[in-house]
Subunit: 652 residues, 2 copies
């Protein structure tokens, strides 16, 4: 047991005249302090803001890290026809960068419209209603989980590319990494920027170096081909099909996941917030697009082969840097780090979004609880567990996880932009000068509403098409799981919401007269013997009411006779009822009796069950006692108007 400090009780008289005391409780140090750090008071919540350079580092890791696997996943689909089909990879990459451009323009508008933070959930809730909002939320939550699974699996794949002897341990390594990130997040990440800047800028620098030197070598003709590439699987098809191209395209769209991150975190930026956030978004997209195109172009030119054994990034780096030297290892380390940072981003987003849902009553309210380090600890643990489960189920294979990934992102993109389009329509039809306060932002007249609605509307249509292509081409590979899961989640969300609303209505004191008086109070006291514990409980029962009935379950007639005669000396004249139990059951006859009594109850009659509960000195002693009192409580908890009182009897 932890030591429990006595509380400093401060007495204080309030204006209302009701006497009140205020005390503060500070938890004592324990092993938790060592593992998670010293507890933080609610007042300790940080209120710092960050600039553009650091903002890029904080919010871009998810988006930028997808360059580590997007190219590979495109090539993997094309490999079904053979190496010749790899020429299609570049046009596909260009199409994806075009999509990225549309998304960037669209989100730039969201950032300016929602300076308080414009995640898909909030935008959909304000403009489209509960159902689209919950759908967007469910989609995003699903995707955050997959971000963790995919990023960590890909990070571990980078490591096992450099050190192939670790390949058999990839599942354990991945799960270990998820739990490590969980622990870091439970301690609470100080978003000090510096911690984030190092890996992000290290990755950006290393990738530009790799791609830059790669291009230089390519132009000067000294690049050459990948030495000893992993084996290519045998082609399954004779010729390329539209389906295959679309499939490759949707695999590649994982590159644009994470684009929405900045729009969620606008409040973290320095003033002017929206302006700074918008510029950061554009920078992020430019870097992402450049790297993605560069990596894809070089990968094709040098004959990289997509494989579970060695990532395309590893093949690229060792070809560009001509061997597995220091620069190669730096590139691999940077890629692994950014992937871990991407997973870490999901650990910030998932708990925040689930707390938002819980606050609105669509998820268990416990998710709004902030732990000792001011983080939403339950959301963090839930995310780590589900992501680990996925890693184990899909054996830490990025290729196996990819079909589940990104549908959610595109669904939320679609809903968010559709919401924005709606919003511009409303803004366009508002009288200039009028301001409408919405839950998430302020709505004003917008003269250029048609253009803005066009941009968001076009973005919405594009992402909707991508989503449908995605779901269709990858349905059988695993996308069906998400297609079923998201609606199921929405159903659960609404069921929870219904329950909370129903509960609030039933507990409300509005239109509630006054509580009816208790007219009669019956006490029923089950006993298993006559001893000091029974006598103590009887004394307590006497204090509650004069109408007491002791109940004994008889399994052995000789023992019952002994009990009867003992009760005559110690029972204080209280009525004793013996229930014969020829089938040696204890709980059932007692419950049956209580049921019979409570059926013949008068109105306003309360029944209290006083249970003498023997409390042993040591915990193991409980093993040698039947926990009848506990079972009785469990069984009676769901009965109406029956109060259960445990009278403990401790040994000296």
């Amino acid at each position: 047991m932890e030591a429990r400090p006595t509380m400093p009780v401060i007495e204080k008289e309030t204006e209302s005249g009701v006497f009140q005391q205020i005390a503060e409780y500070r938890p004592p140090a324990s092993w938790r302090t060592w593992l998670f750090g010293r507890p933080l008071a609610s007042a300790d919540a940080p209120h710092q803001t960050i600039g553009k350079a650091i903002g890029l580092a904080v919010f871009a890791s998810d988006a930028l890290s997808s360059t580590a696997y997007a190219t590979e996943e495109i090539l993997l689909v094309l490999a079904a026809v053979g190496v010749a089909a790899f020429v299609y990879a570049l046009p596909i990459a260009i199409a994806i960068v075009a999509l990225l451009t549309i998304l960037t323009l669209s989100y730039e508008q969201t950032i300016h419209a929602y300076p308080g933070g414009g995640g898909a959930y909030i935008v959909a809730r304000d403009n489209l209603g509960e159902l689209p909002a919950q759908t967007a939320g469910a989609a995003l939550l699903t995707d955050y989980i997959l971000t963790v699974s995919v990023s960590v699996a890909s990070g571990v794949a980078q490591i096992t590319s450099a050190y192939p002897f670790l390949f058999p341990y990839r599942v354990s390594l991945s799960v270990g990494l998820v739990l490590f990130i969980m622990l870091i997040n439970l301690r609470g990440v100080k978003e000090s920027g510096v911690t984030f800047s190092i890996p992000t800028y290290f990755f950006v620098a290393m990738m530009f170096l790799t791609v830059g030197i790669g291009f230089y070598r390519y132009i000067t003709g000294s690049l050459g081909m990948v030495v000893g590439p992993p084996p290519l699987r045998a082609p399954e098809m004779a010729s390329i099909s539209l389906f295959l191209i679309l499939h490759a395209f949707s695999n590649g769209t994982t590159a644009v996941t994470g684009t929405e991150a900045i729009s969620n975190g606008i409040t973290a930026f320095k003033e002017p917030k929206s302006h700074n956030a918008g510029i950061t978004l554009i920078w992020m997209s430019v870097i992402l697009g450049t790297l993605f195109l560069g990596i894809t172009y070089l990968a094709i030119k040098m004959g990289a082969i997509p494989s579970e054994e060695e990532t395309v990034i590893s093949q690229l780096a060792r070809t560009v840097f001509q061997g597995q030297g220091l620069l190669y290892l730096a590139a691999i380390a940077a890629t692994t780090l950014i992937l871990v940072m991407a997973a870490n981003t999901a650990f910030a987003d998932f708990p925040r979004l689930s707390a938002l849902h819980a606050g609105d009553g669509f998820l268990p309210r416990q998710l709004t609880y902030r732990g000792s380090r001011l983080v939403y600890s339950r959301g963090i643990v839930a995310l780590a567990l589900i992501a680990s489960l996925l890693i184990v189920l899909f054996k830490a294979s990025v290729t196996a996880l990819i079909p589940l990934y990104a549908i959610g992102v595109f669904l939320s993109f679609t809903l968010s932009q559709a919401g924005m389009a709606c919003r511009w329509w409303k803004a366009g039809h508002l009288t200039p000068g009028v301001e409408v306060q919405e839950p998430g932002s302020v709505l004003r007249h917008e003269p250029r509403w048609a253009l803005k609605m066009g941009i968001n509307g076009f973005g919405s249509v594009c992402t909707a098409i991508v989503m449908v292509v995605f779901a269709a081409t990858k349905f059988r590979d695993g996308a069906w799981i998400v297609v079923l899961l998201v609606p199921a989640m929405v159903v659960v969300f609404f069921a929870i919401h219904h329950h909370y609303r129903d509960l609030a209505r039933h507990l409300s004191l509005e239109e509630y007269g006054s509580a009816p008086r208790i007219a009669r109070h019956r006490v029923i006291m089950p006993i298993s013997g006559v001893h000091r514990g029974t006598v103590a409980a009887l004394r307590y029962a006497r204090f509650l009411s004069d109408d007491i009935t002791a109940v004994y379950i008889s399994m052995d007639s000789a023992e019952t006779e002994r009990l009867r005669s003992k009760w005559e000396s110690w029972g204080d004249g209280v009525r004793l009822i013996v229930l014969e139990s020829p089938y040696r059951l204890f709980l059932e006859p007692l419950l049956g009796y209580i049921e019979a009594i409570s059926q013949h109850r008068q109105p306003n009659e309360t029944i209290t069950i006083v249970v003498p509960q023997f409390v042993p000195r040591r915990r193991w002693h409980n093993l040698v006692h039947s926990q009848a009192a506990l079972w009785l409580r469990m069984a009676l908890l769901f009965k109406r108007g029956i109060v259960i009182t445990d009278v403990p009897y401790q040994l000296d």
Copy 2:
């Protein structure tokens, strides 16, 4: 939920004048009825007795079944030197049969001295004291577990000898068989005799047929050698040693396990009980000795090789019956059946003995509880679980389990016979005509006490020597586990006993004056909000005492303000204490407060914690509520003089 029938309540006035009601409870039909059979009332316990022929069938399966593996285990040890050493098997078997004779004479005396049942536990308790009795009991319990593991593993080995393709599944098959026997025993085995007679006599007949034909063929010279015997492992030693012979001997002594079974079950026999039981014992020993010698002799002559792949019984049967025909399969089936019956015997003995220990307060009293089918269900389940665990740990290998087996039997033999020797000494020094009532039997003067003491004493010394040889030769192979386990069990038994005695003393009403009066009654009511549930709980608290304090844990100051103003309208003037919890903890501040209050308590002051507990309509709803009331109860249960009352509030 099962349907709960209303109870027929019968009212009845007793002589003492205290008004009483008697009701009977009969459980409704459920899935349990289907699985375990209709519940049996205590009055349904069978009281039938059996004759000698059926008695032999009921009690001999454990002893007779050991012929299925005893020879093999002797040969296995001798194989360390090579086939040449197999000639020692016959003298070893003769020595074991001599031991069996001594045991039979010794137990014959026990049977007559303890007509009410003379298990080692009872004999040791009456004549040697608690410690030897508990030791004998611990040893026997250990051995019953091993009887199940070894018999089932050997039974499955017979099956896999006939059907080698099942060999990889031997662990699952064995565990499945244990669970099947458990289920049969939970339903309650009707010891109708017929069910037992068929497999026992089938086995005896098949073995006599096998051995008989074997001898005929051997004498007529048509027996031949085992065709394609399993491979012999390479010899590890150059020459035979005394250690090896003793090791082989102790492996072979597993043949005499089960000899004690009849002395435990004398009461089941027809009158004259002791006479009938004694004759049955002698018959059992004669059959066992004959079969064991015959099997061993033939096995050596036909060159059987001990092996995990094919049992010696299988090799014997297919050589005698010249192939795997119908007679071979019948012999294998009979052997498997008798082994299963042996395991089944342990399922009767273990629960009965553990209930005996529990009744004396050396094991948890729950073990004396008889389930719906009048069997000691908890002991049955415990036995099945531990035996299955052993099978899994030792991979269902009889050879690996054997070193653990039989030490316990020989320890209990030794203690039981030493107890008998003591008893004869006492009987010899008693005045003729005087009768001393002991817990387990009646002690009378015995003129031939010296002879009888000699027989039991000699038996005791012999079994003690065997036990020491056993422990020494097999110590490293696994016997050390039992050598450590039995004393550890005895320590636990006495710890439990001490706890029960201590408890009885503390709960005893002797020298207990009258319960002190309750002088002051304080009520503390933790609240999490002001709603109908709170109001209902407050109304109940009002009924208990005028000294009520409501306690609210504040984590958010705005919410606390709202609560305060609501309390002013609904709080009925009751004092409200607000505990600030800047670290967002709920339970700890509340416990700290209750601790502080209870430290400043007056003598005879009782504190009742009234917890408003919201009871949701459906069980899954509990998932979306923090179970604060439950945690509070768990934390407070161990506090002195604090009574906890849950006031449930159910939704309509």
